[in-house]
Structures are given as C-alpha cells and as structure tokens.
Amino acid sequence: MTGLRLPLLGGLALAALLFSTIARAEGLNAEPRKAEAPKVEAPKPEAAKAEAPKPDAPPRAEFEAKFTYCKTCHGVAGQGFRGAYPMPRLAGQQPEYLQNQLEAFIERRRVNPVMFNVAHVLRPGMLTALAEGFRDLNPKPLGGEPRELIPAGKKIFEEGVPAANVPPCASCHGADAKGAGAMPRLAGQLYDYTTRKLTNWSKERGQDPAKPDSSQIMEPITHGLTPQQVSEVAAYLGSLE
C-alpha cells in the first residue's frame, strides 16, 4: 500500500490510532474475521478470499435476487446511478467498508431512511455476502463531473491542504484511491454523491454518541475543506478508474 508509505501527518497518525481503537470498540476484532485492523495497514485481497466460507452464507438464488436488487439502484454493474438522489458506486468497494456502512444504517449511526429499510431485513450472512459481492466489479466510472476541477482536486488528494490541517486523501485511501479494509474506495465515485457526503458528513454519519465509529476520522477533514475544495476533490475522484 504505497499510500500509507507517504509521509504521515501527525494528525493522520492520530486518526489511524483512533480508528483502530474504534475498530476494537466495535468488536470487529472479536469476529472470526480477525485481524481487521492490521489489514488496514497491509491489505491483501487474496488473504480475504482465503477465508473459510461463512457458515450462514445465503443460498445462491437468494443471494443473486438480493444482489440484483442492490443493482436496481446502484447500477447494473454497480457503477452508481443518478436518480432524484445520486446512488453511489459500489463496484470495487472494500467489503469491510460496505459491511460497516450496512451495519451503520441498521443501527442508525449513519442516517438514511431508504438504506435503513433496505439493510435492516438482511441476515448477517447475507449482509456479508453482499458486502463482498461488489469487490470484483470493475465498470468504468459513470462520469458527469466538472472536468475543469480535476487538476485542483488531484492536488488536494495527493497533498492535502496543510494550512487547513487536511491530510492527503491518498494517505488513507491509497494513491490509486481504491481504499483498503475499512477505508473506502473513492475512485470512480459519483461527483455529486461525494460532494453531498463531504458537505453533510456531520449530519449523516456517527449519529450515535454512545457508539462512536470510524466516521470520526473524516469529520474534522470535511470541516477543513471549503465547498470549492470539496467540489474539486469530488471531481477528481469521479474521474478515476
């Protein structure tokens, strides 16, 4: 993971520490999927694949029906879709991140009425299978971002905004923005989705004070970015394959 070998800012090291503390508090390490937090530092997709099949894995047909259901809104290849709301790209997304988000919807730590309805009926085995289902999809980005903002966004992604204590996005999300473990892939994400999420971060994520989660890592970063910088970095991410 070249991204993590970039010089780390002090604040970022703190964020990583915070994250591993949260991961432990969430009981992620108590699951059979052990060593989740170390995976963030040295992700190996083949290690994830080598895991034993889940004992509560859903029947194939049931999985396919639910997976197709996800793609009704998130695009036929998981590339995302623009309706009245932008539906995010899930293709190539890190399974651990998707799993965390589905659980956050269910527990209303991440507030989204539609996704609550979708997620709360999922049995744990189905939830995990769906989270893993998108990993190997690799469609082209949906596009539609303002291309003139891409160069400025690339600079923020690679260098951060030191004056505003914004670390380089690449240091956690990877130089290729493909994420690792609990750190989501951002490459190819819809411009309008990323813009909305960064703008509304504190209203949508980490909504249960009794159960802080990894969304805390991004919170100060989202506050450090100006609306213009949010648009720039979102445009860059939208263009990445």
Binding site: A65, K66, T68, Y69, K71, T72, C73, V76, F81, R82, G83, A84, Y85, M87, P113, V114, N117, V118, A119, H120, V121, L122
Partner: protein, 170 residues
C-alpha cells in the same frame, strides 16, 4: 401538434390510454419520442399509435414538443382508489426490502416530480400507471433499465396501490 392533442387532449392532460404530457420532464419526453421512433418502446398502444406518429420525427422537433408540453400546467388525474393511497405512499417512499421492491422515491423524487430523463409520475392516470407497470413484467419496453426489474418485483396489489397513490399527487 394537432396530432398530439387528438389523443393527449388539447391541454395535454391525457385521455384514456394516452398519458398526460403537461408538466412532464422535457428530457424524458424527448427520450420517449426517440424510443417510439426506434421501436424500443414497444408496448401495444405505443406500437399502434406512437410508432407511426414519430416515424419522421427528428431530435430537434422532439425537443420543441418536449419544451412545449413540459411548460403546460398539470392537473392530477385523481382516478385511483383512495383507500389504497396510504399503502401506495408507504411503498413509494420505503419500498419493501423483504421482497426486493425498490423505493420509487430514490429515482422519481420525494413528490414524484421526476428528474431529467426519469419521468414525473405524480398525477398521471391510474390506468396508465397500472398498465405501464404491468407491461414491464410482460416483457415490453425492456430497454428502460431498471424498470423491468422493478416492476417485476411488484405484486398486482402493490401495482394497484402505487398507481392509486400516484394518481392523486399534485
């Protein structure tokens, strides 16, 4: 234009099987006109009337029609079963995840106002909405992703409820 109003009504509020065009999303109207022309929208009535009507229609004239109809004020059809409105609203807003029914709102918007090429549904007639939803399960207009999939997940009762709810929306 006179040809359009013959079926869709002089104020384009729709009549019988011809849907209301007034207030529809212009992008959607253009796409549908071109879909009639290239025969990808192949529902029985479309085939009978709209294939011929659009056979010599170019994109420019399609855009002019779209802009004209989109700007007309729209009246709700109010012709559904009012007892089903609440059930329809719940389905529209929340979907039904147990049977993989998607929430219509995410694409069509919280008040069914539509978005770009995604049509406005609020106030269309019960019979038009119902037959469209039924026809996707029968294999018509298969190119309209994701609607064939969405509509196939709906039971007849759910179609009834959705078409009723939408027919009363302003």
């Amino acid at each position: 234009m006179r040809n359009c109003t013959w079926c869709h009504g002089s104020a384009a509020q729709g009549f019988s099987t011809a849907p209301r065009l007034a207030g529809q999303k212009p992008h959607y109207i253009v796409e549908q006109l071109l879909a009639f022309k290239d025969h990808s929208r192949d529902n029985p009535i479309s085939k009978q009337y709209m294939w011929g009507a659009t056979a010599r229609l170019g994109p420019e004239l399609a855009s002019e029609f779209a802009a004209y109809f989109a700007a007309l004020p729209a009246e709700p059809a109010n012709d559904g079963n009012s007892a089903l409105v609440e059930a329809g609203r719940a389905l529209y807003e929340q979907g039904f995840a147990d049977s993989n029914v998607a929430a219509c709102l995410v694409c069509h918007g919280p008040s069914a106002q539509g978005f770009e090429a995604i049509p406005r549904l609020g106030g269309l007639s019960y019979s038009y909405l119902k037959s469209r939803l039924e026809q996707w399960s029968q294999g018509y207009h298969a190119a309209a992703f994701p609607m064939p999939q969405v509509a196939t997940s709906l039971s007849p009762d759910e179609i009834d409820a959705l078409a009723s709810y939408l027919s009363f929306l302003r």
